[in-house]
Symmetry: C2
Subunit: 314 residues, 2 copies
């Protein structure tokens, strides 16, 4: 159980190490959507994503003895970079298990932050086995990208900053991947601002969370064919019950709707966001009547996009 106190201490733990990211809004997007939308810009967060919050909080919870042995995670995405950078600023060794086919740019980012990259076969089984091996051999503490109380509490702090700064928000939307961000957000609202509804947004092509809420058990995705590469994972046994209890609903959007919303934010707000964090805006635009005239918060989860192709063709 993650308590109110856990969230408060998470916020205290991370504050010296993360940005209180700006909250932006666009009158053009408001008029298009027919509501007021406040975007919490975690794309401006250190290492470019909200994952920094959970990583810092989890490392801060370790004992001095545990920290001396380092931390380990398996991820090819933002959590890999978050653990590498979080460990670095806290003076802890980080082992990052990454699939051998992970893009070089992602491996380099981890290396730049001082993490040690450990290659493994590109399957989830191989990843977990290699992480377990590092845990055993080095005595390193395992950090889960989303299914861990300290990580969830850390992710919830973005919502706390959002509803503290913008009064009377009625609804907060987040994307749903493994469920760390939305479960932290839902708990933050539950404890500190219970009038806020929390709604998840998910690509139709990886609608595991949507189906899980219907079936009452954790569903998996048969394919992972979505541009929103941060949302391909399935829920965990810690995040799922929190979502069941505290998230109002999960809305689905198409790939075309994700691209449209992403382009809208790039063009009109002049900020770079990942496809994953365009999913909530896509859901608002698709469900106009549901959100009509509401005051809405959206957590823009990250901004790490590979721009190589764009600049190569410039």
């Amino acid at each position: 159980m993650i308590s109110k106190q856990d969230l408060l201490s998470a916020h205290k733990n991370i504050t010296p190490y993360v940005h209180n990211t700006p909250i932006l809004h666009s009158s053009y997007i408001d008029s298009l959507a027919g509501c007021q939308i406040y975007f919490k810009c975690e794309n401006f967060q250190k290492m470019g994503a909200f994952k920094m919050r959970g990583a810092i909080n989890a490392i801060k919870h370790l004992t001095d003895e545990e920290r001396q042995k380092g931390v380990v995670t398996h991820s090819s995405g933002n959590f890999a970079q978050a653990v590498a950078l979080g460990a670095k600023v806290l003076g802890v060794k980080a082992y990052i298990v990454m699939p051998s086919n992970a893009p070089k740019v992602k491996k380099n980012a981890v290396l730049d932050y001082g993490g040690e990259v450990i290659d493994c076969e590109p399957t989830i089984t191989a990843r977990e086995a290699m992480a377990a091996k590092v845990q055993q051999e080095k005595g390193a503490a395992f950090l889960h990208p989303y299914n861990q109380n300290e990580v969830i509490a850390g992710q919830g702090t973005a919502a706390i900053e959002l509803f503290k700064e913008i009064e009377d928000i009625e609804i907060i939307l987040t994307p749903v991947g493994g469920g760390g961000l939305i479960s932290g957000t839902a708990l933050a609202c539950h404890y500190f601002s219970p009038n806020i509804q929390v709604i998840g947004a998910e690509p139709e092509n990886v609608d595991d969370a949507y189906r899980s809420l219907i079936s009452g058990k954790i569903e998996i995705n048969e394919t992972t064919d979505t541009i929103a590469d941060g949302l391909r994972t399935t829920l965990g046994d810690i995040t799922f019950p929190i979502i069941q209890e505290h998230v109002k609903e999960i809305l689905l959007v198409s790939e075309a709707e994700i691209k449209f919303a992403m382009k809208l934010i790039w063009e009109r707000m002049k900020i770079i966001i990942e496809p994953s964090c365009a999913v909530p805006l896509a859901a608002v635009l698709r469900n106009e009547s549901k959100f009509k005239n509401k005051k809405i918060g959206i957590i823009l989860s990250g901004g790490n996009v590979d721009l190589t192709k764009f600049f190569d063709n410039l």
Copy 2:
């Protein structure tokens, strides 16, 4: 002559109609450049560029009688959009003369802001002739994109906000196209913060301002082959003398350096800027020893980039 009072009243004129844009900085870019850089984000300005400031100030200077007859300009760039939107918010009719081969996205932006687009042949002579015709037939007041006192004073207000918010800036850099931004910036520093050096940055491929400072007369560009499409114009007879008197020097950069600096800002700061406003950062990176440990301001002039290709290939 643009006076101290002209700048103060320009700032008062425009404040209700423009954003006081945020000032961002990146510790990564600082460490790479070896100095402290504060970016004044005019890419977040209304219609996406600093040009809004000059357009509003110029329209505010018209008499009621003049305003009733409307305004006219010729531009296929940001000034076209600035006049269209500025006129709209001030309740004035705007005629925008645009070359017949201007990108559709630029014409549509002007139309979206309520401007009337008037096509002309794609030569500077045809543009000027058509604008003169509209002036004569409609009685509309002509607004020049840069070579006009009210426009220059308006552009200078971005620097005022920059050195008001960030203390002890030693150097401000801006890109140089027609010279409106840099001459306004130089006058603002001259009147209000005379210890600040103002330095221009220009692509090597369109180095007319650099050569003009050497020869003492307005030089033109033989080619306009640069990615920094906002900087292809040459100086005007009002901007040039101001630059001669108040700008310390103009630094040149290559096309590859512009692209590198632009990508750096996109990737690390997660904001979208036009190629033109990457030019000053490119100049800082190229001249490391000149800027070593200095406290620097850079005006990011705009963020209007055609993203169609990027999103089509996503």
